[in-house]
Protein backbone atom coordinates (compact mmCIF):
# COMPACT_ATOMS: atom_id res chain seq x y z
CA UNK A 1 0.00 0.00 0.00
CA UNK A 2 2.79 2.36 1.01
CA UNK A 3 4.72 1.50 -2.14
CA UNK A 4 1.64 2.21 -4.21
CA UNK A 5 1.24 5.62 -2.59
CA UNK A 6 4.90 6.40 -3.20
CA UNK A 7 4.59 5.31 -6.81
CA UNK A 8 1.54 7.49 -7.26
CA UNK A 9 3.30 10.44 -5.65
CA UNK A 10 6.26 10.08 -8.01
CA UNK A 11 3.99 10.01 -11.05
CA UNK A 12 2.05 13.06 -9.86
CA UNK A 13 5.26 14.92 -9.02
CA UNK A 14 6.77 14.17 -12.44
CA UNK A 15 3.60 15.26 -14.15
CA UNK A 16 3.40 18.54 -12.24
CA UNK A 17 7.07 19.29 -12.91
CA UNK A 18 6.61 18.45 -16.58
CA UNK A 19 3.40 20.43 -16.91
CA UNK A 20 5.07 23.65 -18.18
CA UNK A 21 6.45 21.67 -21.12
CA UNK A 22 3.04 20.17 -21.93
CA UNK A 23 1.50 23.63 -21.65
CA UNK A 24 4.12 25.26 -23.85
CA UNK A 25 4.14 22.68 -26.64
CA UNK A 26 0.70 21.14 -26.23
CA UNK A 27 0.02 17.49 -26.80
CA UNK A 28 2.27 17.76 -29.87
CA UNK A 29 5.22 17.52 -27.46
CA UNK A 30 4.82 13.76 -27.63
CA UNK A 31 5.44 13.41 -31.36
CA UNK A 32 7.39 16.57 -32.18
CA UNK A 33 10.90 15.64 -33.34
CA UNK A 34 12.44 19.02 -32.50
CA UNK A 35 15.02 19.15 -29.74
CA UNK A 36 16.78 22.49 -29.90
CA UNK A 37 18.05 23.76 -26.53
CA UNK A 38 19.18 27.04 -28.12
CA UNK A 39 15.75 28.03 -29.41
CA UNK A 40 14.10 26.32 -26.41
CA UNK A 41 11.96 24.14 -28.64
CA UNK A 42 11.57 20.64 -27.28
CA UNK A 43 9.79 17.52 -28.42
CA UNK A 44 9.76 13.95 -27.23
CA UNK A 45 9.35 12.34 -30.66
CA UNK A 46 12.97 11.37 -31.30
CA UNK A 47 13.60 9.87 -27.90
CA UNK A 48 10.27 8.02 -27.73
CA UNK A 49 11.01 6.62 -31.18
CA UNK A 50 14.53 5.60 -30.09
CA UNK A 51 13.26 4.05 -26.87
CA UNK A 52 10.60 1.97 -28.60
CA UNK A 53 12.77 0.89 -31.55
CA UNK A 54 15.72 -0.19 -29.39
CA UNK A 55 13.45 -1.99 -26.93
CA UNK A 56 11.51 -3.85 -29.62
CA UNK A 57 14.63 -4.67 -31.61
CA UNK A 58 16.35 -6.03 -28.50
CA UNK A 59 13.32 -8.25 -27.84
CA UNK A 60 13.50 -9.51 -31.42
CA UNK A 61 17.15 -10.41 -30.90
CA UNK A 62 16.83 -11.80 -27.37
CA UNK A 63 13.65 -13.90 -27.50
CA UNK A 64 14.81 -16.60 -29.95
CA UNK A 65 18.08 -16.93 -28.04
CA UNK A 66 16.31 -17.07 -24.68
CA UNK A 67 13.89 -19.64 -26.02
CA UNK A 68 16.79 -21.76 -27.24
CA UNK A 69 18.47 -21.57 -23.84
CA UNK A 70 15.30 -22.49 -21.95
CA UNK A 71 14.49 -25.30 -24.37
CA UNK A 72 17.99 -26.71 -24.06
CA UNK A 73 18.07 -26.46 -20.27
CA UNK A 74 14.69 -28.08 -19.68
CA UNK A 75 14.54 -30.73 -22.38
CA UNK A 76 17.92 -31.48 -23.90
CA UNK A 77 20.75 -30.80 -21.47
CA UNK A 78 22.05 -33.64 -19.30
CA UNK A 79 20.96 -33.01 -15.69
CA UNK A 80 24.50 -32.29 -14.42
CA UNK A 81 24.87 -29.44 -16.92
CA UNK A 82 21.57 -27.72 -16.14
CA UNK A 83 22.60 -26.00 -12.94
CA UNK A 84 25.95 -24.54 -14.07
CA UNK A 85 24.59 -23.26 -17.40
CA UNK A 86 21.43 -21.92 -15.75
CA UNK A 87 23.48 -20.10 -13.12
CA UNK A 88 25.81 -18.69 -15.75
CA UNK A 89 22.88 -17.22 -17.67
CA UNK A 90 21.41 -15.77 -14.49
CA UNK A 91 24.78 -14.23 -13.63
CA UNK A 92 24.49 -12.10 -16.76
CA UNK A 93 21.74 -10.28 -14.90
CA UNK A 94 24.14 -9.42 -12.08
CA UNK A 95 26.61 -7.56 -14.32
CA UNK A 96 26.19 -3.80 -13.67
CA UNK A 97 24.92 -1.89 -16.68
CA UNK A 98 27.92 0.44 -16.73
CA UNK A 99 30.09 -2.62 -17.42
CA UNK A 100 27.89 -3.50 -20.40
CA UNK A 101 28.24 0.10 -21.55
CA UNK A 102 32.02 0.08 -21.35
CA UNK A 103 32.26 -3.34 -22.93
CA UNK A 104 29.96 -2.12 -25.68
CA UNK A 105 31.97 1.05 -26.27
CA UNK A 106 35.45 -0.50 -26.22
CA UNK A 107 34.79 -3.97 -27.68
CA UNK A 108 31.50 -4.16 -29.54
CA UNK A 109 31.59 -0.71 -31.19
CA UNK A 110 35.02 -1.17 -32.82
CA UNK A 111 34.10 -4.72 -33.85
CA UNK A 112 30.85 -3.51 -35.42
CA UNK A 113 32.58 -0.56 -37.09
CA UNK A 114 35.27 -2.76 -38.66
CA UNK A 115 33.53 -6.03 -39.45
CA UNK A 116 29.77 -6.20 -38.98
CA UNK A 117 28.49 -2.90 -40.28
CA UNK A 118 30.62 -2.54 -43.46
CA UNK A 119 29.61 -6.07 -44.50
CA UNK A 120 25.92 -5.46 -43.85
CA UNK A 121 25.99 -2.02 -45.49
CA UNK A 122 27.77 -3.33 -48.61
CA UNK A 123 25.59 -6.42 -49.00
CA UNK A 124 22.17 -5.27 -47.82
CA UNK A 125 22.28 -1.50 -48.41
CA UNK A 126 21.33 -1.85 -52.09
CA UNK A 127 18.36 -4.17 -51.56
CA UNK A 128 15.00 -2.86 -52.72
CA UNK A 129 12.41 -1.97 -50.05
CA UNK A 130 14.55 -2.79 -46.98
CA UNK A 131 17.87 -1.36 -48.18
CA UNK A 132 17.33 1.95 -46.40
CA UNK A 133 17.59 0.15 -43.06
CA UNK A 134 21.24 -0.68 -43.70
CA UNK A 135 22.72 2.48 -45.15
CA UNK A 136 25.03 5.13 -43.72
CA UNK A 137 28.55 5.44 -42.37
CA UNK A 138 29.87 2.58 -40.21
CA UNK A 139 30.37 4.48 -36.96
CA UNK A 140 29.94 1.34 -34.89
CA UNK A 141 27.52 3.15 -32.61
CA UNK A 142 23.82 3.62 -33.29
CA UNK A 143 20.37 2.12 -32.79
CA UNK A 144 21.43 -1.38 -33.81
CA UNK A 145 24.42 -1.54 -31.47
CA UNK A 146 22.29 -0.27 -28.58
CA UNK A 147 19.67 -2.93 -29.31
CA UNK A 148 22.37 -5.60 -29.40
CA UNK A 149 23.73 -4.63 -25.98
CA UNK A 150 20.20 -4.39 -24.58
CA UNK A 151 19.40 -7.85 -25.96
CA UNK A 152 22.27 -9.35 -23.98
CA UNK A 153 21.19 -7.47 -20.86
CA UNK A 154 17.59 -8.68 -20.94
CA UNK A 155 18.45 -12.21 -22.08
CA UNK A 156 18.81 -13.65 -18.54
CA UNK A 157 15.42 -12.30 -17.43
CA UNK A 158 13.58 -13.81 -20.35
CA UNK A 159 15.55 -17.07 -20.33
CA UNK A 160 15.08 -17.60 -16.58
CA UNK A 161 11.33 -16.96 -16.75
CA UNK A 162 10.96 -19.30 -19.71
CA UNK A 163 12.96 -22.05 -18.00
CA UNK A 164 10.91 -21.78 -14.82
CA UNK A 165 7.56 -21.98 -16.57
CA UNK A 166 8.69 -24.77 -18.89
CA UNK A 167 9.62 -26.77 -15.79
CA UNK A 168 6.15 -26.28 -14.35
CA UNK A 169 4.48 -28.21 -17.14
CA UNK A 170 3.09 -31.37 -15.43
CA UNK A 171 5.27 -34.32 -16.49
CA UNK A 172 2.20 -36.42 -17.16
CA UNK A 173 1.26 -34.22 -20.16
CA UNK A 174 4.70 -34.52 -21.66
CA UNK A 175 4.92 -38.24 -20.99
CA UNK A 176 1.57 -38.82 -22.64
CA UNK A 177 2.80 -37.00 -25.72
CA UNK A 178 6.04 -38.99 -25.76
CA UNK A 179 3.94 -42.15 -25.31
CA UNK A 180 2.07 -41.28 -28.47
CA UNK A 181 5.39 -41.18 -30.30
CA UNK A 182 5.99 -37.40 -30.40
CA UNK A 183 9.54 -36.10 -30.88
CA UNK A 184 11.12 -33.66 -28.38
CA UNK A 185 10.38 -30.73 -30.67
CA UNK A 186 6.78 -31.87 -31.18
CA UNK A 187 6.31 -32.05 -27.40
CA UNK A 188 7.76 -28.57 -27.09
CA UNK A 189 5.55 -27.15 -29.79
CA UNK A 190 2.38 -29.10 -29.08
CA UNK A 191 2.40 -29.34 -25.27
CA UNK A 192 4.88 -27.10 -23.49
CA UNK A 193 4.41 -23.87 -25.46
CA UNK A 194 0.59 -23.90 -25.52
CA UNK A 195 0.59 -24.67 -21.79
CA UNK A 196 2.98 -21.84 -20.88
CA UNK A 197 2.29 -19.33 -23.64
CA UNK A 198 0.90 -16.59 -21.45
CA UNK A 199 3.66 -16.81 -18.86
CA UNK A 200 6.25 -16.71 -21.64
CA UNK A 201 4.76 -13.50 -22.97
CA UNK A 202 4.78 -12.12 -19.43
CA UNK A 203 8.50 -12.90 -19.14
CA UNK A 204 9.15 -11.13 -22.42
CA UNK A 205 7.30 -8.08 -21.15
CA UNK A 206 9.51 -8.12 -18.07
CA UNK A 207 12.55 -7.94 -20.34
CA UNK A 208 10.89 -5.20 -22.37
CA UNK A 209 10.38 -3.17 -19.19
CA UNK A 210 14.07 -3.38 -18.40
CA UNK A 211 15.04 -2.46 -21.97
CA UNK A 212 12.82 0.62 -21.92
CA UNK A 213 14.45 2.14 -18.86
CA UNK A 214 18.10 1.20 -19.40
CA UNK A 215 20.31 4.30 -19.30
CA UNK A 216 24.07 3.90 -18.93
CA UNK A 217 24.74 1.07 -21.35
CA UNK A 218 22.59 2.73 -24.02
CA UNK A 219 24.19 6.16 -23.59
CA UNK A 220 27.59 4.70 -24.37
CA UNK A 221 26.69 3.15 -27.68
CA UNK A 222 23.61 4.77 -29.22
CA UNK A 223 25.37 7.77 -30.78
CA UNK A 224 23.20 10.31 -28.95
CA UNK A 225 21.83 12.35 -31.82
CA UNK A 226 18.43 13.98 -31.58
CA UNK A 227 17.47 13.05 -35.11
CA UNK A 228 15.40 10.21 -36.52
CA UNK A 229 17.42 8.25 -39.04
CA UNK A 230 15.88 5.52 -41.12
CA UNK A 231 19.05 3.43 -41.02
CA UNK A 232 19.47 0.94 -38.18
CA UNK A 233 23.12 2.01 -37.97
CA UNK A 234 22.29 5.69 -37.60
CA UNK A 235 22.62 7.43 -34.24
CA UNK A 236 19.55 8.02 -32.10
CA UNK A 237 18.57 8.65 -28.53
CA UNK A 238 16.38 7.16 -25.86
CA UNK A 239 14.38 8.92 -23.15
CA UNK A 240 16.51 7.62 -20.31
CA UNK A 241 19.76 8.45 -22.05
CA UNK A 242 18.66 11.96 -23.05
CA UNK A 243 17.55 12.77 -19.51
CA UNK A 244 20.83 11.50 -18.06
CA UNK A 245 22.90 13.52 -20.52
CA UNK A 246 21.06 16.82 -20.30
CA UNK A 247 20.04 16.93 -16.65
CA UNK A 248 23.26 18.45 -15.33
CA UNK A 249 23.03 21.37 -17.75
CA UNK A 250 19.40 22.37 -17.26
CA UNK A 251 18.65 25.31 -15.05
CA UNK A 252 15.87 25.36 -12.51
CA UNK A 253 12.60 26.69 -13.84
CA UNK A 254 13.79 26.40 -17.43
CA UNK A 255 11.63 24.89 -20.13
CA UNK A 256 14.39 22.36 -20.75
CA UNK A 257 14.25 20.96 -17.23
CA UNK A 258 10.49 20.79 -17.44
CA UNK A 259 10.73 18.99 -20.79
CA UNK A 260 13.16 16.47 -19.31
CA UNK A 261 10.78 15.80 -16.43
CA UNK A 262 7.92 15.47 -18.88
CA UNK A 263 10.03 12.89 -20.71
CA UNK A 264 10.49 11.10 -17.41
CA UNK A 265 6.73 11.07 -16.97
CA UNK A 266 6.23 9.58 -20.44
CA UNK A 267 8.83 6.91 -19.73
CA UNK A 268 7.13 6.13 -16.44
CA UNK A 269 3.80 5.66 -18.19
CA UNK A 270 5.39 3.48 -20.88
CA UNK A 271 7.12 1.16 -18.41
CA UNK A 272 4.10 1.13 -16.15
CA UNK A 273 1.89 -0.08 -18.99
CA UNK A 274 4.42 -2.74 -19.95
CA UNK A 275 4.93 -4.00 -16.40
CA UNK A 276 1.20 -3.94 -15.63
CA UNK A 277 0.60 -6.04 -18.73
CA UNK A 278 3.31 -8.46 -17.71
CA UNK A 279 1.91 -8.86 -14.18
CA UNK A 280 -1.55 -9.39 -15.60
CA UNK A 281 -0.31 -12.11 -17.92
CA UNK A 282 1.84 -13.74 -15.24
CA UNK A 283 -0.85 -13.60 -12.54
CA UNK A 284 -1.58 -17.34 -12.56
CA UNK A 285 2.10 -18.16 -12.10
CA UNK A 286 2.64 -15.51 -9.43
CA UNK A 287 -0.20 -16.93 -7.34
CA UNK A 288 1.22 -20.46 -7.47
Amino acid sequence: MFVLLLLGAIIVELFIAGLPAFQAFGIGFIWSTDWDPVQEVFGAGVSIYGTLVTAVLSIVLAVPLAFGIAFYLTELAPPWLRRPVGTAVELLAAVPSIIYGMWGFFVIVPAFATYVQPTLIDNLGELPLVGFLFQGAPFGTGIFTASFILAIMILPFIAATMRDVFEQVPPVYKESAYGLGATTWEVMRGVVIPYTRISVVGGIMLGLGRALGETMAVTFVIGNANRITTSLFGPGNTIASLVALEFGESEMGSLKLSSLLALGFILFVLSFVVLATSRYLLRSRLKA
Partner: protein, 339 residues
Protein backbone atom coordinates in the same frame (compact mmCIF):
# COMPACT_ATOMS: atom_id res chain seq x y z
CA UNK B 1 13.33 14.63 32.49
CA UNK B 2 16.45 12.87 33.62
CA UNK B 3 16.75 11.15 30.34
CA UNK B 4 16.42 14.41 28.46
CA UNK B 5 19.21 16.08 30.41
CA UNK B 6 21.36 13.07 29.82
CA UNK B 7 20.74 13.24 26.08
CA UNK B 8 21.51 16.94 26.03
CA UNK B 9 24.73 16.29 27.89
CA UNK B 10 25.73 13.58 25.47
CA UNK B 11 24.91 15.88 22.58
CA UNK B 12 27.09 18.64 23.97
CA UNK B 13 29.92 16.21 24.55
CA UNK B 14 29.72 15.12 20.93
CA UNK B 15 29.52 18.64 19.54
CA UNK B 16 32.38 20.15 21.53
CA UNK B 17 35.26 18.37 19.79
CA UNK B 18 33.57 19.02 16.45
CA UNK B 19 33.41 22.72 17.24
CA UNK B 20 37.07 22.68 18.09
CA UNK B 21 37.97 21.15 14.75
CA UNK B 22 35.76 23.67 12.99
CA UNK B 23 37.66 26.57 14.51
CA UNK B 24 40.93 25.14 13.30
CA UNK B 25 40.01 24.26 9.75
CA UNK B 26 37.78 26.38 7.53
CA UNK B 27 35.39 24.47 5.29
CA UNK B 28 33.75 25.65 2.08
CA UNK B 29 31.66 23.81 -0.47
CA UNK B 30 31.22 24.41 -4.16
CA UNK B 31 29.56 22.74 -7.10
CA UNK B 32 29.37 23.16 -10.85
CA UNK B 33 31.45 22.93 -14.00
CA UNK B 34 33.28 19.72 -14.84
CA UNK B 35 35.89 21.40 -17.03
CA UNK B 36 37.89 23.04 -14.17
CA UNK B 37 37.29 20.10 -11.82
CA UNK B 38 40.85 18.67 -12.02
CA UNK B 39 42.46 21.99 -11.06
CA UNK B 40 39.91 22.80 -8.34
CA UNK B 41 40.58 19.40 -6.77
CA UNK B 42 44.32 19.98 -7.02
CA UNK B 43 44.02 23.45 -5.49
CA UNK B 44 41.77 22.08 -2.74
CA UNK B 45 44.34 19.45 -1.90
CA UNK B 46 47.15 22.00 -1.75
CA UNK B 47 45.07 24.58 0.16
CA UNK B 48 44.57 22.12 2.99
CA UNK B 49 48.21 22.32 3.86
CA UNK B 50 48.88 25.89 2.74
CA UNK B 51 46.02 27.89 4.24
CA UNK B 52 44.33 25.24 6.41
CA UNK B 53 41.12 25.15 4.43
CA UNK B 54 39.02 22.23 3.36
CA UNK B 55 37.36 22.78 -0.01
CA UNK B 56 34.71 20.34 -1.10
CA UNK B 57 34.04 20.72 -4.83
CA UNK B 58 31.51 18.59 -6.70
CA UNK B 59 31.66 18.62 -10.47
CA UNK B 60 27.97 18.20 -11.22
CA UNK B 61 27.85 20.29 -14.40
CA UNK B 62 27.55 24.05 -14.94
CA UNK B 63 23.76 24.10 -15.05
CA UNK B 64 23.42 22.14 -11.81
CA UNK B 65 26.08 24.37 -10.23
CA UNK B 66 24.07 27.48 -11.13
CA UNK B 67 20.94 25.87 -9.62
CA UNK B 68 22.75 25.03 -6.40
CA UNK B 69 24.22 28.50 -5.88
CA UNK B 70 20.82 30.07 -6.63
CA UNK B 71 19.39 27.91 -3.86
CA UNK B 72 22.42 28.76 -1.72
CA UNK B 73 23.00 25.08 -0.93
CA UNK B 74 26.72 25.59 -1.62
CA UNK B 75 29.15 28.42 -0.85
CA UNK B 76 30.14 28.97 -4.46
CA UNK B 77 28.99 27.83 -7.88
CA UNK B 78 31.12 27.25 -10.95
CA UNK B 79 30.16 27.63 -14.59
CA UNK B 80 31.85 27.57 -17.97
CA UNK B 81 29.23 29.58 -19.82
CA UNK B 82 29.16 33.02 -18.13
CA UNK B 83 25.87 34.44 -16.83
CA UNK B 84 24.95 37.85 -18.19
CA UNK B 85 24.75 41.01 -16.08
CA UNK B 86 20.97 40.80 -15.67
CA UNK B 87 21.04 37.16 -14.50
CA UNK B 88 23.79 38.02 -12.02
CA UNK B 89 21.85 40.92 -10.53
CA UNK B 90 18.63 38.91 -10.28
CA UNK B 91 20.34 36.09 -8.41
CA UNK B 92 22.60 38.42 -6.34
CA UNK B 93 25.76 36.82 -7.63
CA UNK B 94 29.27 38.05 -8.32
CA UNK B 95 31.04 36.34 -11.18
CA UNK B 96 34.80 36.10 -11.63
CA UNK B 97 37.18 33.93 -13.72
CA UNK B 98 39.72 31.52 -12.21
CA UNK B 99 41.69 29.86 -14.99
CA UNK B 100 41.45 29.45 -18.73
CA UNK B 101 41.48 26.42 -20.96
CA UNK B 102 41.80 25.84 -24.66
CA UNK B 103 40.01 23.56 -27.06
CA UNK B 104 41.71 21.66 -29.85
CA UNK B 105 40.43 19.76 -32.86
CA UNK B 106 41.46 16.09 -32.92
CA UNK B 107 41.44 13.86 -35.99
CA UNK B 108 41.96 10.21 -36.87
CA UNK B 109 43.42 9.95 -40.35
CA UNK B 110 45.91 7.36 -41.57
CA UNK B 111 49.31 8.91 -42.25
CA UNK B 112 48.53 12.28 -40.67
CA UNK B 113 50.87 13.23 -37.84
CA UNK B 114 50.29 15.55 -34.90
CA UNK B 115 49.79 19.23 -35.87
CA UNK B 116 50.37 18.48 -39.57
CA UNK B 117 46.91 19.12 -40.89
CA UNK B 118 45.69 22.70 -41.34
CA UNK B 119 42.06 23.67 -40.87
CA UNK B 120 40.17 26.95 -40.86
CA UNK B 121 37.15 28.04 -38.86
CA UNK B 122 34.75 28.06 -41.83
CA UNK B 123 35.89 24.56 -42.83
CA UNK B 124 35.32 23.26 -39.27
CA UNK B 125 31.87 24.86 -39.24
CA UNK B 126 30.96 23.28 -42.58
CA UNK B 127 32.20 19.89 -41.38
CA UNK B 128 29.95 20.10 -38.32
CA UNK B 129 27.09 21.40 -40.47
CA UNK B 130 27.46 18.29 -42.61
CA UNK B 131 28.34 20.30 -45.73
CA UNK B 132 31.91 19.03 -46.09
CA UNK B 133 31.65 15.26 -45.93
CA UNK B 134 34.91 13.84 -47.30
CA UNK B 135 38.52 14.42 -46.27
CA UNK B 136 39.65 14.97 -49.87
CA UNK B 137 37.24 17.90 -50.28
CA UNK B 138 38.88 20.54 -52.53
CA UNK B 139 38.71 23.16 -49.75
CA UNK B 140 40.69 21.00 -47.32
CA UNK B 141 43.14 19.89 -50.02
CA UNK B 142 43.78 23.50 -51.08
CA UNK B 143 45.29 24.54 -47.73
CA UNK B 144 47.08 21.22 -47.08
CA UNK B 145 49.53 21.06 -49.97
CA UNK B 146 52.02 18.29 -49.31
CA UNK B 147 49.61 16.05 -47.39
CA UNK B 148 47.90 13.15 -49.11
CA UNK B 149 44.32 13.19 -47.88
CA UNK B 150 42.35 9.95 -48.22
CA UNK B 151 38.96 9.68 -49.89
CA UNK B 152 37.33 8.93 -46.54
CA UNK B 153 34.03 10.03 -45.05
CA UNK B 154 34.33 12.64 -42.29
CA UNK B 155 32.73 11.48 -39.07
CA UNK B 156 32.25 14.47 -36.73
CA UNK B 157 31.97 13.57 -33.03
CA UNK B 158 30.48 15.92 -30.45
CA UNK B 159 29.65 16.03 -26.75
CA UNK B 160 26.23 14.49 -26.22
CA UNK B 161 25.98 15.71 -22.65
CA UNK B 162 25.41 19.39 -22.12
CA UNK B 163 28.82 20.92 -21.40
CA UNK B 164 30.86 24.09 -21.22
CA UNK B 165 33.22 22.53 -23.75
CA UNK B 166 30.43 22.44 -26.29
CA UNK B 167 29.49 26.02 -25.38
CA UNK B 168 32.99 27.26 -26.21
CA UNK B 169 33.26 25.17 -29.37
CA UNK B 170 29.94 26.31 -30.83
CA UNK B 171 30.55 29.94 -29.89
CA UNK B 172 33.73 29.63 -31.98
CA UNK B 173 31.82 28.06 -34.88
CA UNK B 174 29.12 30.75 -34.62
CA UNK B 175 31.78 33.43 -34.80
CA UNK B 176 33.41 32.13 -37.95
CA UNK B 177 30.25 30.98 -39.74
CA UNK B 178 27.10 33.02 -40.19
CA UNK B 179 25.24 29.89 -41.24
CA UNK B 180 26.12 28.14 -37.96
CA UNK B 181 24.93 31.18 -36.04
CA UNK B 182 21.59 31.21 -37.91
CA UNK B 183 20.89 27.51 -38.15
CA UNK B 184 22.31 26.12 -34.90
CA UNK B 185 23.24 28.89 -32.48
CA UNK B 186 25.18 28.78 -29.20
CA UNK B 187 24.50 26.86 -25.98
CA UNK B 188 25.82 24.19 -23.65
CA UNK B 189 24.00 21.69 -25.83
CA UNK B 190 22.80 22.41 -29.34
CA UNK B 191 21.10 20.52 -32.14
CA UNK B 192 24.09 19.26 -34.11
CA UNK B 193 23.07 18.83 -37.76
CA UNK B 194 25.57 16.01 -38.41
CA UNK B 195 27.73 13.46 -36.65
CA UNK B 196 27.52 11.32 -33.58
CA UNK B 197 27.43 12.23 -29.89
CA UNK B 198 29.57 10.77 -27.14
CA UNK B 199 29.49 11.22 -23.41
CA UNK B 200 32.19 13.39 -21.87
CA UNK B 201 35.65 14.35 -23.13
CA UNK B 202 36.74 10.74 -22.80
CA UNK B 203 33.80 9.61 -24.95
CA UNK B 204 34.68 12.02 -27.76
CA UNK B 205 38.36 11.07 -27.51
CA UNK B 206 37.42 7.37 -27.59
CA UNK B 207 35.16 7.79 -30.62
CA UNK B 208 37.83 9.68 -32.54
CA UNK B 209 40.44 7.08 -31.69
CA UNK B 210 38.20 4.22 -32.83
CA UNK B 211 36.66 5.60 -36.01
CA UNK B 212 38.85 6.22 -39.07
CA UNK B 213 38.03 9.60 -40.55
CA UNK B 214 36.62 10.98 -37.30
CA UNK B 215 37.10 14.53 -36.06
CA UNK B 216 36.26 15.83 -32.61
CA UNK B 217 36.92 18.59 -30.13
CA UNK B 218 38.34 18.19 -26.62
CA UNK B 219 40.14 20.24 -24.02
CA UNK B 220 43.84 20.48 -24.68
CA UNK B 221 44.72 18.57 -21.49
CA UNK B 222 42.83 15.56 -22.86
CA UNK B 223 44.59 15.68 -26.19
CA UNK B 224 47.98 15.80 -24.48
CA UNK B 225 47.45 13.07 -21.90
CA UNK B 226 45.84 10.75 -24.46
CA UNK B 227 48.32 11.57 -27.24
CA UNK B 228 45.62 12.45 -29.73
CA UNK B 229 46.37 13.92 -33.16
CA UNK B 230 45.65 17.64 -33.04
CA UNK B 231 45.57 20.08 -35.96
CA UNK B 232 46.63 23.62 -36.75
CA UNK B 233 43.84 26.16 -37.02
CA UNK B 234 43.89 29.48 -38.82
CA UNK B 235 43.40 32.40 -36.41
CA UNK B 236 41.76 35.75 -37.00
CA UNK B 237 45.02 37.33 -38.15
CA UNK B 238 45.17 34.70 -40.90
CA UNK B 239 48.07 32.68 -39.49
CA UNK B 240 47.94 28.92 -39.01
CA UNK B 241 48.85 28.31 -35.36
CA UNK B 242 49.65 25.13 -33.45
CA UNK B 243 47.99 24.39 -30.11
CA UNK B 244 50.88 25.10 -27.73
CA UNK B 245 51.67 27.16 -24.68
CA UNK B 246 52.88 30.25 -26.58
CA UNK B 247 49.76 30.57 -28.73
CA UNK B 248 47.47 30.05 -25.70
CA UNK B 249 49.26 32.79 -23.77
CA UNK B 250 49.05 35.08 -26.80
CA UNK B 251 45.27 34.63 -26.78
CA UNK B 252 45.06 35.30 -23.04
CA UNK B 253 47.14 38.46 -23.38
CA UNK B 254 44.87 40.01 -25.98
CA UNK B 255 41.64 39.62 -23.97
CA UNK B 256 39.59 42.53 -22.65
CA UNK B 257 38.64 41.89 -18.99
CA UNK B 258 36.76 45.14 -18.41
CA UNK B 259 33.37 43.70 -19.42
CA UNK B 260 30.53 43.09 -16.91
CA UNK B 261 30.89 39.83 -15.01
CA UNK B 262 34.43 39.44 -16.41
CA UNK B 263 32.82 37.58 -19.29
CA UNK B 264 35.86 38.19 -21.48
CA UNK B 265 35.62 36.76 -24.95
CA UNK B 266 38.79 34.85 -25.79
CA UNK B 267 37.45 33.19 -28.90
CA UNK B 268 38.95 34.51 -32.15
CA UNK B 269 41.08 37.18 -30.50
CA UNK B 270 43.18 39.44 -32.69
CA UNK B 271 46.75 38.55 -31.65
CA UNK B 272 48.89 37.46 -34.63
CA UNK B 273 49.98 34.25 -32.84
CA UNK B 274 46.83 33.72 -30.74
CA UNK B 275 45.17 30.27 -30.61
CA UNK B 276 41.57 30.95 -31.66
CA UNK B 277 39.66 28.80 -29.15
CA UNK B 278 40.46 29.77 -25.56
CA UNK B 279 37.94 30.33 -22.77
CA UNK B 280 37.93 31.24 -19.08
CA UNK B 281 35.87 29.36 -16.50
CA UNK B 282 33.92 31.22 -13.82
CA UNK B 283 33.01 31.18 -10.13
CA UNK B 284 29.66 32.48 -8.88
CA UNK B 285 29.71 34.00 -5.42
CA UNK B 286 26.65 35.33 -3.53
CA UNK B 287 26.75 39.09 -2.91
CA UNK B 288 24.29 38.71 -0.01
CA UNK B 289 25.85 35.73 1.76
CA UNK B 290 23.91 33.90 4.47
CA UNK B 291 27.21 33.09 6.16
CA UNK B 292 29.69 35.94 5.72
CA UNK B 293 32.62 33.97 7.15
CA UNK B 294 32.27 31.15 4.63
CA UNK B 295 31.87 33.68 1.83
CA UNK B 296 35.10 35.37 2.90
CA UNK B 297 36.79 31.98 2.99
CA UNK B 298 35.84 31.36 -0.63
CA UNK B 299 37.59 34.63 -1.53
CA UNK B 300 40.56 33.67 0.64
CA UNK B 301 40.82 30.34 -1.18
CA UNK B 302 40.81 31.85 -4.66
CA UNK B 303 43.09 34.67 -3.58
CA UNK B 304 45.56 32.01 -2.50
CA UNK B 305 45.02 30.13 -5.78
CA UNK B 306 45.76 33.30 -7.78
CA UNK B 307 48.95 33.79 -5.79
CA UNK B 308 50.32 30.26 -5.51
CA UNK B 309 48.23 28.12 -7.82
CA UNK B 310 49.60 29.00 -11.26
CA UNK B 311 52.20 26.27 -11.30
CA UNK B 312 49.63 23.60 -10.46
CA UNK B 313 47.35 24.96 -13.17
CA UNK B 314 50.07 24.77 -15.77
CA UNK B 315 50.97 21.24 -14.77
CA UNK B 316 47.40 20.28 -15.66
CA UNK B 317 47.58 22.19 -18.98
CA UNK B 318 45.34 25.04 -17.83
CA UNK B 319 46.27 28.64 -18.62
CA UNK B 320 46.67 30.91 -15.56
CA UNK B 321 44.95 34.29 -15.62
CA UNK B 322 47.14 37.23 -16.62
CA UNK B 323 48.03 39.60 -13.73
CA UNK B 324 45.70 42.35 -15.00
CA UNK B 325 42.76 39.99 -14.72
CA UNK B 326 43.71 38.87 -11.20
CA UNK B 327 44.05 42.48 -10.09
CA UNK B 328 40.66 43.32 -11.57
CA UNK B 329 39.01 40.39 -9.74
CA UNK B 330 40.56 41.43 -6.42
CA UNK B 331 39.37 44.99 -7.02
CA UNK B 332 35.86 43.72 -7.64
CA UNK B 333 35.94 41.77 -4.34
CA UNK B 334 37.03 44.89 -2.50
CA UNK B 335 34.25 46.98 -4.04
CA UNK B 336 31.60 44.37 -3.31
CA UNK B 337 32.55 43.11 0.12
CA UNK B 338 34.91 45.77 1.48
CA UNK B 339 38.55 45.09 2.11
Amino acid sequence: MNRRTMLLGAGAALTLPALGAHAQEARITGAGATFPNPIYQKWAEAARGAINMQVNYQSVGSGAGINQIRNRTVDFGATDAPLNAQQLTEANLLQFPTVMGSLVAIVNLPGIENDQMKLTGPILADIYLGKITRWNDPRIVAINAGLTLPNLAIAPAYRADGSGTTFVWVSYLAKVSQEWKDRVGVGTSVRFPAGTGARGNEGVAGTVRQVRGAIGYVENAYAITNRLTTTQIQNKAGNFVKPEHATFMAAAASADWSVPGFAADLVETTGPQAWPIVAPTFILLPTNPTDAARNANVRRFFDWAFKDGDRLAQELEYIPLPDVAKAAVRAAWATQFGA
